[in-house]
């Protein structure tokens, strides 16, 4: 357990090293936040209470999306590129001989990365957004805590998905295509482009049932106070369910993959 804590801290510190990149990222998140906020204002101006949100809740959704984009790695950009590279070069063989579990090792590092991104790239755009627009921020500290729990579960689901993507490199060797398909799904089905409540009919039902809704839609609804009491437990159960199922699939795939490892090069 201590080992994984150290790996997590390492993940945090590793991303904390890139200060200029973090500032640049905050700038980008803020720019996109502004553009999206204006389009949402126009949309909600025409249809107040669309999707059950009022204008300030919709705007809060926009800025939460920007704050969680990197934390929940909705567009990828975590460990998976590195892991695919290690599979391609054969370095993965070294990882497999380490006295640590492959999946837990990468999970610990990714949690550290997420914690850094939440602080480094989440808080500042959120503050800037709150200064420029009228946001619906929770009053109760309990809601904030409930939100953080939901975000953590979202990160685990996101990790589990990206771990599966990375493992696909054992078969495809080059993971770029799968990564791209994955981040597309992440962007669209997490609610990043438009809250999933606004998706019509069956598409909406499917989108809300897919694992990606754990990345933004569920945490955002927790933040906006849409899930309370048993509803909150239900939301957590949904996220946990996907986390367990996907991590389990990752386990199975990992054991199949490691049996067919071909180490390239000398």
């Amino acid at each position: 357990m201590r080992l994984y804590a150290v790996v997590a801290v390492g993940g945090f510190r590793r991303y904390a090293t890139y200060r200029v990149a973090t500032v640049a990222g905050v700038f980008t998140n803020t720019v996109f936040g502004f553009i999206m906020a204006y389009t949402y204002i126009a949309l909600w101006d025409q249809r107040p209470h669309l999707g059950g949100y009022d204008v300030s809740q919709a705007l809060t959704f926009v800025w939460l999306g920007q704050a969680l984009l990197m934390t929940c790695a909705m567009m990828g950009g975590g460990f998976e590129d590195e892991m695919i590279e290690r599979i391609r070069t054969g370095d993965i063989a070294i990882d497999l001989y380490r006295p640590a579990d492959l999946q837990l090792w990468w999970l610990a590092g990714d949690l550290g990365r997420a914690a850094f991104h939440l602080m480094g790239r989440g808080i500042v755009p959120m503050i800037l957004g709150a200064l420029a627009f009228d946001l619906a921020l929770p009053v109760s500290p309990l809601t904030w805590i409930a939100f953080l729990v939901s975000v953590t579960l979202g990160v685990v689901v996101s990790f589990a998905l990206r771990f599966l993507v990375a493992l696909s490199a054992f078969w495809l060797m080059d993971g770029a295509g799968v990564i791209q398909i994955c981040w597309l799904a992440g962007l669209f089905f997490s609610g990043m482009l438009l809250p999933l409540n606004l998706f019509p009919g069956t598409l909406g039902d499917i989108a809300r049932a897919l694992p990606w809704s754990s990345l933004l839609q569920v945490p955002a609804d927790v933040f906006l106070g849409k899930h309370t009491g048993w509803g909150l437990l239900g939301a957590y159960a949904f996220q946990c369910g996907w986390a367990v199922a996907l991590l389990g699939a990752g386990r199975v795939l990992q054991s199949v993959a490691t049996r067919r490892v071909v180490v390239q090069g000398g």
Binding site: Q46, R47, Q180
Partner: protein, 258 residues
């Protein structure tokens, strides 16, 4: 030649190429799907119909797609500056700018242009415009000038990487962010923001000004009509400025020595 080399290299992993080319098309398509989803709830956004927004969207998407195909590798420059591999390009007997542009030249970016053109076509067919020769000529002029303006933003961003090194995201907010902004009509945005992208970073000349002329719509800042004909001039000035910034940046480059 370098571009051809990278095309051959991507073709080694053919499945991956097909997936990424499709992914590029789908990635940009999702943007438009979002707009379609918005229009499943409303009839007009900021006073503009779906067809008119499709025209704006397709124009910026195509222009951005061309710029991305030619200059999209600029954001890799920061990494090359950091790890010192830019030196490799400096000793080769070819212009550095051309080499950086061709670095990892990716044909899959054609997906983006295809998608932009499809939406533009849809927009042109649906909008209710009294087509005069001048208005028809406006369309290709808008696409080419727009591509040049976006390209110079890419190059200027590249030049900025010489100092900032790992700040490629700042560049993204002007390129990808600008593209997203221009997909929507200017009536949505605060006046100051519209002023900023008209006079400071002249992104408004990519599609807003010419397209609003085609559509016969007033520009929110009450600017005179003839400004809609300026994109080629603005594009030329932008290219000059970006070229200048690039040379200054390159001259200040100091190798890591590795």
């Amino acid at each position: 030649m370098i571009a051809a080399m990278w095309i051959r290299s991507t073709m080694t992993y053919r499945t991956s190429f097909l997936l990424t080319a499709f992914g590029n098309l789908a990635a940009t398509a999702f943007d438009f799907v979002t707009i379609l989803l918005m229009f499943s709830h409303v009839d007009a956004l900021g006073g503009y119909s779906l067809g008119e927004i499709a025209l704006l969207y397709g124009a910026t998407g195509t222009a951005f797609g061309i710029a991305d195909l030619v200059m999209g590798s600029m954001d890799r420059l920061g990494r090359r500056v950091r790890d010192g591999t830019l030196d490799v390009l400096l000793v080769r007997p070819a212009p550095v700018l051309a080499q950086v542009a061709a670095d990892r030249f990716a044909l899959r970016r054609l997906g983006r242009i295809t998608q932009g053109l499809l939406v533009l076509g849809y927009g042109l067919l649906t909008v209710d415009v009294d087509w005069t020769p001048l208005r028809i000529l406006m369309v290709p002029m808008m696409l080419l000038s727009g591509a040049a303006i976006f390209s110079s933003v890419f190059v200027a961003g590249g030049a900025f990487q010489f100092w900032a090194q790992d700040a490629s995201e700042v560049q993204n907010s002007f390129t990808y962010g600008g593209n997203t902004l221009l997909q929507y009509p200017p009536t949505l945005f605060a006046k100051d923001l519209v002023r900023g992208v008209t006079f400071v970073v002249p992104l408004a000349f990519v599609n807003w000004l010419p397209a609003l002329y085609v559509l016969g719509r007033p520009y929110p800042l009450d600017l005179p009509h003839w400004l809609a004909f300026l994109p080629p001039v603005v594009a030329a000035v932008c290219c000059r400025l970006a070229g200048f910034a690039w040379r200054v940046g390159l001259r200040s480059y100091r190798s890591t020595g590795s």
